[in-house]
Amino acid sequence: MKIKKWLSKLPLWLYACLVLPILAFGLSKQGTPYFSVLDIPRIWTDEAMKDWELPNSNPAFSAKPVSEEFYYNLPERVIYKTYPVYHPDHEPEGYWEWLHEQEAEVVFDESKLVTEEDWIKAGELLFDYPIDTLGAVINTQHVRNPDFYSSIGMPLTPEGIMPFAQWVVAGKGKVYLGNLSCAMCHTRVMEDDSLLKGAQGNWPGDKAFAFALESDGVSERGVQGITNILFGSPFVEGDPHGKLLASGRESILEAFKAVPEGAFGRQGTSILYPPQAPNLIGVKDRKYLDHGGLGQHRNLEDMMRYIAMNQALDFLNFYGEYNSLGLTKERLNNGEAIIFPGTHDRHSDAQLYAIAKYVYALTPPENPNKPSILSERGKIIFAEQGCVTCHTPPLFTNNKLTPADGFEVPEEHYDKYDIFDISVGTDPGYTMHTRRGTGYYKVPSLLGVWYRGPFLHDASLAKLEDLFDPARLRDDYVPTGFKPHDVKTKAVKGHEFGMELNEGDREALVAYLLTL
């Protein structure tokens, strides 16, 4: 009671003084977590993985990922310093020898990351870091061969750097070509030769892979085998990838070569319906990831899950009883490592956190297309044509999923997901006939179309103008972007908006879109 009495006699200003330090730290702009330790989420829990992904369009074959126990038993990746890959004709003198003299340098140390900026910077480093040095797509021999660049039209920086792969130095004399970084598919060499990270990349990955298979003289069986591992989905109706395999080596190689820059047949997708490489700038605001909206994106943890899964861990998924590596569930869980790109190790949660932070921090470059009288007219046409319903400002997407032709939305999906219950009639192949297919396409954002292309989920149109060309709906149309290897012409159907606009209005609409 005495203490209480004594306390009550203290002046109020003294109490106020006690609060000041808290206020001072609280208002600090340094971003230093004075009063809390950064809590890195544990993302691969059995509970979280259960319904994070949408079911397959054929739900009996929805992906079953590895367990939490399996995942966290994988060793964490050690992140070494990487070095740029030059076109052999542009390589600085003595560079190759110099690389072999370098010691391994571990560059990711989470204990040194304090501020938000630290994490973002570390995230960029990891974004560029290849997770594979086994030669998943290309290897040292390929990138040291000048024909590699000329035969596939590889984009290079003005310094002659091929920015889609890196040299990983894992020790003195241990110089490996690194594949499968995030940057591989999400880096774009712009028309002005600048490099734009996070954009729809222009890595001609499938052409590069075809070059690798051809120059290495891989047998028909080998080509079929790797193609099956990448895209096999015998459970889908008609098994189009099974038919592709049966068509033989040359035909498969032609299918790889048919995929244009800006699209990439990554694992679980297809080279018959190749997905456009997604633009990551602004991805923070998107509710679904993948063209089919496979991964829900409700928070940073979901982004971390997506990165973990997509950096090749989905090779270990089971689709019903099917696994594309030919694994059985017994083999998967017998404790022995599965040595295949991306399946024998994993990013730590801290590494994933850093990448997600970096991806969230990506910003678009300054748009050279400034608003004009023409674009302002296009803005009105954009509203009049009802584009705003799906491509709703300010994100220029309503963030919803539209069912593809042939997919009937299950009743329970209406409550679980954001469904825009109407098909715009684009090619259903990707979402109906692949391991990653959900039966939906997400409504894409139009932000940044000026630095992107080719367009549509399957990259079938090279330019925005092509989208409004009524000729594309005819069977005798030659797609300006992706054209399947086994046809000469093909109608690019669906999304038939703005087709009746006169030339002037079309021009105005495109002018407006380029300002976004």
Partner: protein
């Protein structure tokens, strides 16, 4: 006993009494009333129903229901062309007047076919589950010469709400022409969701 014309009108059950066991109940009732009483009932029923039978005619107006909604700053004009209305309106007997209407949202047109299709879907009118929009008057008030305000119950989807509709009447002989305009909040009726570009308010114009 012969069954005459009047009997068929006044006591149709009598002609059926031998065909159905349940008719016994009717027979009992019919025996309770003599011919005069039955005639009286018929007359009463006639006078009660006559106004409806004679005046509350269902008509399919020529003009569609119009609506306007702002989308990204642009006013979108839409119509619902398939609708019908039953009118029994006497400006001198407002308390006995009624207006009832029914519209088919499947006939909605906004100038973009895919948008119309979307409006049919569950996010908006969900026509598979709710094939009609209905409007039924509750009361009327005069607001001056040929100007009225009606309180109506409007049902869209499974939501019923009272709306106040000011309208005008121009009458030429027996021909009546009504024109009303009102505003609803589409979210009140579960039509779509909140949007940064699509206005919540929809202006509806009805003319018949």
């Amino acid at each position: 006993m012969d069954i005459g014309y009047l009997d068929i009108v006044v006591a149709p059950w009598r002609s059926l009494r031998n065909r159905c066991v349940r008719c016994e109940n009717f027979n009992y009732l019919s025996n309770k009333f003599d011919f005069r009483s039955r005639l009286l009932i018929v007359m009463l029923l006639f006078f009660l129903l006559a106004p409806i039978l004679l005046f509350a005619q269902s008509i399919k107006p020529e003009n569609p229901i119009q609506f306007k909604i702002k989308n990204a700053g642009i006013t979108v004009d839409g119509t619902i062309s398939d609708w019908e209305i039953m009118v029994d309106f006497d400006s001198k007997k407002l308390d006995q007047s009624s207006i009832r209407g029914k519209a088919n949202p499947e006939s909605i047109q906004t100038g973009i076919k895919l948008r119309d299709k979307h409006l049919h879907g569950r996010e908006y009118f969900h026509i598979q589950k709710f094939p009609f929009i209905s409007l039924e008057s509750k009361s009327f008030q005069s607001k001056g010469k040929n100007t009225f305000v009606g309180i109506f119950e409007l049902q869209i989807r499974d939501v019923k709400r009272e709306v106040e509709i000011p309208f005008t009447l121009s009458q030429t002989g027996k021909q009546q022409k009504f024109k009303g305009e009102f505003v609803i909040d589409r979210l009140d009726f579960g039509l779509g969701e909140r949007s940064l570009v699509l206005s919540d308010e929809v202006r509806v114009i009805i003319e018949f």
